[in-house]
Subunit: 712 residues, 2 copies
C-alpha cells in the first residue's frame, strides 16, 4: 500500500456510513462530533433507513451521494463491511476509517473476514485505518476533523497520539483535555489492517504541527523497520511510549487481545534505548512527561533548584530529584545573597529554598528569577502549598512572569487540589506544567534530561571489519545445530575474535603431552554431546599446574561423567586441553533471537554470582561504536571493568571492538541463531580480550527473511 | 512527661488563645473550625483586644475564663508563648496545642526559646503538641474536635494520620476528604517538644476508633524505642508510612527543616521491614494503599483475577499485577464455564477476563461473583472503561453487590475521570477503592499482600547463646580502636564463631614452617598498620600449595609493600599464615553504626562483583531466628546459597546461627562499634561456616546510652 494518507487526514468530504438517528449509536456520534468540532469540509450521513440525521440530509448508500467523497467512516455491523467497502471503491473513495470490530481480533473467523476485506481494499487502492478502532482526530484549523465517537473539546496544539487500544485512546484523550494539553492529531490504530505505526510515525515526522509524539503500543506491526525509523524521528521530535504487555503474562494477554506476536520486553527495552524513545512505565507517567516536553525547553544539564514555601515538600522533592538520577544544584554566592536580600531569616536559602509559608507572589517571582539566573542551575522545580487566604493565582502569575523567555525548564508543583484549580489553569496557560506532587515533577524532569542527553550523543557508525567471507561460508553453509569447537574457533577468528589455543584429546597421556606443549597452567574441559553447561556435570578443571594435576583432573572428569550416568565412549566427544589465561574479568557476550526483532547482542558480567543477579544488557544489531560503548557502560558491574580496589583498568576498547565484530557477524550471517562467548575475558588495558569458551548454533536461513544488514 | 493525653484529645473545654476578629488569622480560623465541625464542649476565644469573636464572648486572658479549661490552643506570636503558657499553668490547663512557629526549627535562638518553654510546661505538667504544628483533629462523635486551622468536612472513619509536616498534613487532609476516606484522628506533630510519635502510636494502638495508621515522618523522635513499639502495633493494625529525607540530600534538607538528626535510609528500610510497617514511596502511594487497607479485607494469597471491558486495560493491569510481585490466578473449569455461559464469544474468559465493551452491570455482577467464588482466586481487580451511554453507576452497584460480604479483596479501576465521577462515589460508599489506573490497584493489592504475609509470619525469638562473659570483658575493657587479630579470634570464639587457624610470622622461613604445621594449601596476608583493605596493596596471596609458592608469595607481599611506599619494619605488623579453606560461598557479615538507631547487622554476598552490585541487607538487632533467616533470604544472591548449577546447597542454618551470635555480641557489648567478617565463608550443608578474615573496632561505652539489650 502506498497511496497518500491525505484522504484520511485531510479530506474535503466525509461519508459516515452507519450513521443513525439513535443518539447512542457510534455512527450518529461521529456525525455529531464532526459537525460540533467544526469540520471544514462536507459531512454526508449514509443510512438506508433515514432521511435526515443530526439535521443533515442522509443518503441510502455512499454511491447515492452527489459529490465526491474523500473519506468513508464505517460503523456498520461487521458482516456488512465488505459490501460497504465495495460500494466505496466503486464511488472512488480513497480513504476509510473502519470503526467496526469483529475481525482479526476475534480469531479464525474474523481473520478470514479481514483478509477478504483486504482484497477489496487492495483492489481499489483505498487506505484504511482500523478496523476495530476509535477513529482519527486532526485539529489543524484548515481541517478540524474529529472523526471519532468520543466527543472532546481537546484544544489545538502540538502533541500527536497514536494508540493501539481504543479504550486507552479514550482515556488519554480525556486526560489531555483536562490537562489542557493541546493536540495536533490522534490516531486509534485498531487492527492495523493497512496503515501501521511506522507509516504514521513518518507522517508525523513531516507534520509541522506536531512536535511531540505519544505512543501507546501493545505490539509492533513491522518491527524490523521500526528501530531505524524511530531513531531517525527521535532526533527531530521526542517520542514518549507506553509499551504494555511488558511481563510475559501481560504479553500473553496482549497476544490474545490483538492476535499480534509478542515482543520480549528486553528487546523493546533495547530498542527504545537505542532509538531514544522515552519509555513511560504507566499512563500517568505518559501524561507527566508529555506536559513537561510539550511545554518547556530541554535542560542543558542535571542540576536542579527547588523553590518552595513548605519544609515537607522541600524534603520530598529533594528525595525525588536524587531518586530520579538528577542532582541538587549548588547556588553561587550571588544567588545566595540575592535570596537572603528578600527572604526572612527563618527561610532556608540553600537549595532546596524553603521560603516558609509567608512567601507571596513577590518572593516567588524573585526566587525563581534568582535560581534561573544562576549558571549552576539547569532546571527549576517550584512548589506551592497554599496557606490560608493565599492568592494562588498571583503566585502562578509571578512564576510564569519570572520564567518567561528563559531557556531553562521550570516545572510547577501546586498542591492542595481544588484550592489551586485556578492557579493550575494559569500555569497551563503559560505552559508551565502544574504537577500535583513533587515526584511527578522530578520524574518528568529526569525524562527530559534523558532525552536531552540522547540528543547530544552522537549516534556513531557501525565499523565494517575485513572478513574472509569464503572461509565463513564454508563453515556455515548447509549446517544445522551447534558447530564443533574447531569450527567455532575458525569462525570467530574469521571475524578477528580469539579463543586461547587448545587441543582436543581422548586420553590422559595425550592430555599431559598437550599440556606440556601449550605450557602450564592449563584447563581441562569435557566436551559432551548434548551438554551445554559443563559445570553442571563437573566437566571443567581449572588451573592445573603440573603433569600430576593434569592426570588427576582428567581422572576427576571421567569420574564425574560416570557419576552423571554418561558413557565415555558414547557421550564424550573429547577433552579440551587449553592454556589457562589468568587475570582479567569474566564477562559474557551472547546473541539471542527475539521472535520479532531478530538477533539481539547481549553483554554482561560473568560468573555464577552475576548470573543469578542478571547483570546483562541487550542491543539490537547493527551496533555502532556508540551502541557498543553504551552497552558496556550500561551494566551495573561496569566499575569493575574500569578497575576498582587497586585492580588495573581493563581493556574496554577491545571489548567494544569485539561487540561490534559479533554484531557484524550476526548481521552478515543470519544463519547464526545463537552465540555464547562465555566466559569472555576482558584483560588488563592493552592486553585485549579473549573468549575462554564459545558455543555457536546455526540454522539454514529462510531466504524470504530480509536480513537487517540490507537495510539502508 | 507522663500525664494523660485526654486533655488534648478529649477536652470538655478549649481556650483558643490568639483568636482574632480578622478572618484570615489562624486563631480565628481555629475558633470557626471548632464550632463548624461541631465540637461537643465549650470554646473560649482569648484576646485582650476583642470582646466577641465569631459571635462568641472573648476573654482578655485564659485566667479570666470563668469555667475550667482542659485544652489551650495557642496561636500568639512566639515571643508571647511563654507568658501565655505560664497563665495556662496557673489556670490549671493540662493540655496545649502550640501552633505558633519560631522555636527549635529556627536554629540557636529558637532552640533557647523552646527549652525555656519546656521548663514552664514541665513545672505545670502540661502535655503539649507542637510547637510549629497545624493542630489536631478528633472525629469521635462524643468529641467532634477540629482543632486545626484547615477547614475540612472530612468524614468520620477509622483512619488516623500522624504528620511531621504541617504542609503535608494539609495536603493529605484534603485528599482524604476528596477520596471519601473516613478519619478517626489527625495529629500534626510539629517540633515534638513533648508528645512524640511513639506515645501517639501507643494511644492509637488503644484507640478502638482507629484501625489503620498513616505516618508522614521526616525524622524519628525516639528511635531506640520505635522499633519495638511499631512492631507490636503492626500486629494489631496496619501502619503505612512515608519516610522522607530518603536520599542523603533529602536527609540534609530534612535536618535543616526540623533540626532533627537524619537516620540513614538503610536503617529505616531495615526497621520498617522488621516492624511490618508498609512503606509508601510517594504521597499518592500512601493514599492508594490507605484506601485498599481501610476498605477491604486482606488477601489470603497472591493470586489475582482481573475483570475488564477493554483489552488495553487488561494488558496494562496484567503487567502491573506481575510487576508488583503478584500472580495471575488460573481459573477452575467451573469458573471458566460460568463465564462462558453469559459472555459473548468475542469475550476472553481466561484471566484477564476481557468482557469487551458491550458488558453491562449484569455481566459485571456475574463475572465478579464467578471470580470471587473460585478457590484459586485470592483477590479481584475490576476495571471499567465506560463506552458511550454506559450506566457507570449501575456497574458500580453491580460490582458492590457481587462482592458484599465476601472475605476477599475487590479493588476497582474506573477510568475516564469526570464521566465516572458518580460511579466512583458509589464504589466509595460501598468501600471498594476506586482507582484511576490499573497500576495503583495492583500496587495497593501488593501492599495488602505484603502486610498479610507479615501478619502470618511468626516474629521468632532471639536465641541466647552461652558466652564466657569474663573472657569477653577482658578483651574489650578499656580498649579503643581496632583489636589485634588474636583478640578478634578470641572474641569471636567466645561467641562460638570461628576463624581458620593462623599464625603471625615475620620471616619467610617462619612462614614456611607455619605453613608446614598448618598443612597446605595456605594463605598469606599482610597485616599493615592503618590498612584495612589488604587487596588494595597486593597484601594477600591465596592458594599456596608448596614451600616454594609460600616463599614466592612472601616475597611478592614484601615487594607490593615496597611499591606502596610502606616500610617493612615500621608498617608491617606481621604476615598471617592461614590454612586455606576451600569450597563454600563468600559472604559478608558486618556491623555498622547508625547515628540514630545504633548498631545494624549487615549480611550480603561477598566478592568484588557483588561489592559493586551492593547485594547486602540490614537488620536492627536483637535478631530473632526469623529476622536472621529473612536477612539471609532477602539478598538477591540467596539462590546461590541454596545451590544452583549442580552446586551443593550451603549451610544456611549455620549462617543464621552466626548472624544471631553476632547480634548477641553487639547487643551485649555496646563497645563494639564496627565489625566486619569478610569474607565469611558458608560451606556446603552440614560443614558450617567460617570467617576467613575479621576486623573489630571498639570504643569505650558511654554509660548514659541505654543499650538495646536492656529493653523488654
Amino acid at each position: 500500500m502506498s497511496g497518500s494518507l491525505d484522504p484520511i487526514f485531510r479530506p474535503r468530504s466525509i461519508a459516515v456510513i452507519g450513521a443513525s438517528r439513535d443518539q447512542n449509536t457510534i455512527g450518529r456520534a461521529v456525525v455529531e462530533n464532526l459537525v460540533k468540532f467544526g469540520f471544514t469540509g462536507i459531512v454526508y450521513p449514509v443510512n438506508p433507513k433515514a432521511e435526515v440525521i443530526f439535521s443533515i440530509k442522509a443518503y441510502p448508500s455512499v454511491e447515492d451521494i452527489p459529490g465526491d467523497v474523500d473519506l468513508a467512516i464505517i460503523a456498520v455491523p461487521a458482516r456488512f463491511v465488505p459490501e460497504v467497502m465495495e460500494a466505496c471503491g466503486r464511488k472512488g473513495v480513497k480513504g476509510a476509517i473502519i470503526i467496526t470490530a469483529g475481525f482479526r481480533e476475534m480469531g479464525a473467523d474474523g481473520m478470514g473476514r479481514e483478509s477478504a476485506l483486504r482484497d477489496i481494499v487492495d483492489r481499489y487502492g483505498i487506505r484504511v485505518i482500523g478496523p476495530n478502532c476509535m477513529g482519527v482526530l486532526n485539529t489543524d484549523p484548515a481541517i478540524r476533523m474529529n472523526a471519532t465517537f468520543a466527543y472532546t473539546s481537546v484544544p489545538e496544539g502540538n502533541v500527536a497520539l497514536i494508540s493501539q487500544s481504543g479504550a486507552f485512546g479514550l482515556i488519554i484523550f480525556e486526560h489531555t483535555e483536562s490537562m489542557g494539553l493541546g493536540m495536533s492529531k490522534f490516531i486509534s490504530l485498531g487492527n492495523r489492517m493497512d496503515v501501521g505505526t511506522n507509516e504514521l510515525l513518518e507522517m508525523l515526522e513531516r507534520d509541522e504541527r506536531t512536535n511531540l509524539i505519544l505512543l501507546y503500543l501493545e505490539s509492533f506491526g513491522d518491527p524490523r523497520q521500526f528501530p531505524a525509523i524511530a531513531r531517525r524521528i527521535s532526533r527531530k521530535k521526542p517520542i514518549i511510549a507506553v509499551k504494555s504487555g511488558r511481563t510475559s503474562a501481560g504479553a500473553k494477554a496482549a497476544s490474545s487481545h490483538t492476535g499480534a506476536m509478542a515482543a520480549s520486553d528486553i528487546a523493546v527495552e533495547a530498542l527504545f534505548e537505542q532509538a531514544g524513545i522515552l519509555r513511560a512505565r504507566t499512563i500517568p507517567d505518559l501524561f507527566d512527561y508529555a506536559q513537561a516536553l510539550a511545554y518547556q525547553p530541554l535542560p542543558k544539564g542535571d542540576r536542579v533548584a527547588i523553590i518552595t514555601n513548605g519544609g515537607g515538600p522541600a524534603i520530598i522533592a529533594t528525595d525525588a530529584v536524587i531518586g530520579a538520577g538528577l542532582k541538587m544544584a549548588a547556588f553561587s554566592d550571588t544567588t545566595l545573597a540575592a535570596l537572603r536580600s528578600f527572604l526572612p531569616p527563618e527561610a532556608s536559602t540553600a537549595n532546596p529554598v524553603d521560603m516558609i509559608a509567608s512567601a507571596g507572589p513577590e518572593e516567588y517571582r524573585k526566587a525563581v528569577a534568582a535560581a534561573l539566573g544562576d549558571g549552576g542551575v539547569d532546571a527549576v522545580i517550584v512548589i506551592f502549598v497554599p496557606p490560608i487566604a493565599a492568592d494562588s493565582v498571583a503566585v502562578a502569575k509571578a512564576i510564569s512572569g519570572a520564567s518567561a523567555g528563559i531557556e531553562k525548564p521550570v516545572l510547577g508543583v501546586f498542591m492542595g487540589s481544588e484550592r489551586v484549580a485556578h492557579a493550575v489553569e494559569e500555569l497551563e496557560r503559560n505552559r508551565i506544567p502544574p504537577y500535583k506532587f513533587p515526584e511527578s515533577a522530578a520524574n518528568s524532569l529526569a525524562a527530559m534530561h534523558r532525552y536531552a542527553q540522547w540528543m547530544r550523543r552522537p549516534i556513531g557508525e557501525p565499523t565494517a571489519f575485513p572478513v574472509d567471507r569464503d572461509a565463513v561460508r564454508r563453515i556455515i553453509r548447509g549446517r544445522s545445530g551447534y558447530l564443533g569447537m574447531e569450527e567455532v574457533r575458525d569462525l570467530l577468528e574469521a571475524y578477528g575474535l580469539r579463543i586461547p589455543e587448545f587441543s582436543i584429546v581422548r586420553t590422559k597421556d595425550e592430555a599431559c603431552a598437550e599440556a606440556e606443549r601449550l605450557g602450564y597452567p592449563v584447563v581441562l574441559k569435557a566436551l559432551v554431546r548434548g551438554i551445554t553447561h559443563k559445570t553442571d556435570i563437573g566437566g571443567i578443571k581449572l588451573d592445573l599446574r603440573t603433569e600430576y594435576e593434569v592426570k588427576g583432573g582428567f581422572y576427576d572428569i571421567l569420574e564425574s561423567l560416570r557419576e552423571a550416568g554418561l558413557d565415555r565412549e558414547k557421550d564424550l566427544i573429547g577433552v579440551m586441553v587449553q592454556r589457562m589465561v589468568d587475570g582479567g574479568k569474566e564477562t559474557i557476550i551472547g546473541v539471542v533471537q527475539d521472535p520479532l526483532f531478530g538477533p539481539l547482542v547481549m553483554f554482561g558480567m560473568g560468573g555464577i554470582y552475576v548470573e543469578v543477579l542478571k547483570d546483562v544488557a541487550f542491543r539490537i544489531p547493527p551496533l555502532t561504536d556508540r551502541d557498543a560503548m553504551e552497552l558496556v557502560e550500561s551494566i551495573r558491574g561496569y566499575p569493575i571493568l574500569k578497575g576498582i580496589r587497586g585492580d588495573p583498568p581493563h581493556d574496554i576498547p577491545a571489548a567494544i571492538d569485539a561487540l561490534q565484530r559479533v554484531s557484524q557477524m550476526v548481521i552478515e550471517n543470519p544463519e547464526i541463531v545463537e552465540m555464547d562467548l562465555n566466559p569472555f575475558l576482558i584483560l588488563p588495558e592493552g592486553e585485549g580480550v579473549t573468549a575462554l569458551d564459545a558455543r555457536i548454533r546455526v540454522e539454514p536461513c529462510d531466504e524470504g527473511t530480509p536480513s537487517r544488514g540490507q537495510r539502508p
